[in-house]
Amino acid sequence: MLDVQKIRKDFPILNRTVNGKPLIYFDNAATSQTPQQVIDVIVDYYSNFNANIHRGVHSLSQEATDAYEQARIKIQNHFNAKESHEIIFTSGTTHSINLVANGFSSLLKKGDEIIVSALEHHSNIVPWQMLCERTGASLKVIPMNENGELILSDYDALLNENTKLVFVNHISNALGTINPIEYIIEKAHAVGAAVLVDGAQSCPHIKPDVQALDVDFYVCSAHKLCGPTGVGMLYGKEAWLNKLPPYQGGGEMIAEVSFEKTTYAGLPHKFEAGTPNICGGIAFGAAIDYMNNIGFENIAKYEQELLDYGSEQLQQIEGLKIYGTAKEKTSVISFNVGTIHPYDIGTILDKMGIAVRTGHHCAQPIMDFYKIPGTIRASFMFYNTKEEIDAFIVALKKAIMMLS
């Protein structure tokens, strides 16, 4: 059982007011809030052992290196990677995706095919378009149905011996759909294609087992699961990471350098050029500890209750339409009310202290599918409550009244 009142005390920001009203934070799919336990780790790092890592002989550097590498092991254990060097620290999901897309530039040729899903965030579309431009490979799209679910028979039909890569998010940021990645991975492997799963939206709700999934690459950002911004990770199978060339040159990623030739360091350092976000990496580890202490099963169960309750309450509002009604979905509700512009509702809700997302959610192809300019998106985390949903419904009704 999850004690939400106790959990809320961990998040100092939940005590603040916005426009004179208690903050109700429903923009968790954009970024999650940070618990005191993670904030303490950040303060402790800069107060007590800030130093550059991996190359210092002094104690401080050793302590910082140990903490950073321990965080890598925490992440490895969390995602059940076989080796800790299969976890690459990056600046976040977008960086991770670009690292892989760039690496594949030298592995693809004209005639090769890449598959993405219709549910992708721009960050999982644009790097692949750029990759196709560089290599002459072509981009295919798995279409979605009205509920926001991928049409798997169409996916099956897209796969062939030219398919080299498949990219799909685990959970759609705009609609909350949980994609059947097990099926997608199995089918891709059957034709010899590699699969990258974008876990930006899933990592706060699901604990993926990368070995059981047999996924080739899995990426996520720390800030979506109660960690700081500017840090994330790329999991890649060792064999794939060895095949990909380095992404950025710099310090840390080399074995030996001369003006004639440079040899690269082994994993994970090959992909970690320059001084990394050391504090961020350590805090990422602390965030994973925090989430695991609450327990992902407890989180999933509680968030499902919030989703069911929120959906039920919203559906009672006349003229309200929910976009994304997949059978398997997470605590994200995207909706519009009549012809009212999402921006107008978001603005009025903000005046009442409620933070939601409005717009196209960096997923314009989904908005084009539904022929709408955008939606209002309320996304819940385990620290939200049914009482907050009630207050949100009252505020929403008021906004609708003002705007009609």
């Binding site: 512009h341 921006y343 003002m402």
Partner: protein, 140 residues
């Protein structure tokens, strides 16, 4: 009326409102009353970039006075632009260029002035002034 006189008149109107609700309700009503731009001017070229909602602005000059018409798909944005048009329409381009927009702060809409805010009030003001620059150049 000069730009400053119009601004003062708007400040007076807004001073009657006691809270944000009344202010926003008024803006929403202004938005509904906004003289609509002619359909033929709702082109890609006339869209102001930097707004989360779509905003179209068209300008013309008649006897050295610039007139603006506009539309938006969001009603609050329309309200904001209705206020701007009331201030800047039927004015000499030089006066438009020289006018400041401090009155927005004084009517309690300061939050919309932030350059990072997605509604693009700053972009709207910039666009109106761009038209004024263009017409001023014609007059020189």
């Amino acid at each position: 009326m000069t730009i400053e006189e119009v601004q003062n008149e708007i400040i007076d109107e807004f001073s009657m409102f006691e809270d944000w609700e009344e202010r926003y309700q008024y803006m929403i009503d202004l938005g509904k009353d906004l003289p609509l731009i002619e359909e033929k001017y709702k082109t890609e070229d006339n869209i102001i970039k930097g707004c989360q909602s779509k905003v179209w602005v068209h300008a013309n000059m008649d006897e050295e006075k610039v007139n603006f018409t506009a539309d938006s798909d969001a009603i609050i944005t329309k309200g904001i632009i209705a206020i701007l048009i009331r201030v800047f329409s039927n004015q000499h381009p030089k006066d438009i260029l020289e006018a400041n927009t401090d009155f927005i702060d004084q009517i309690g809409l300061k939050e919309h002035l932030s350059p990072t805010r997605a509604n693009g009030l700053v972009s709207m003001i910039k666009q109106l002034k761009m038209y004024a620059i263009a017409y001023q150049t014609q007059l020189n």
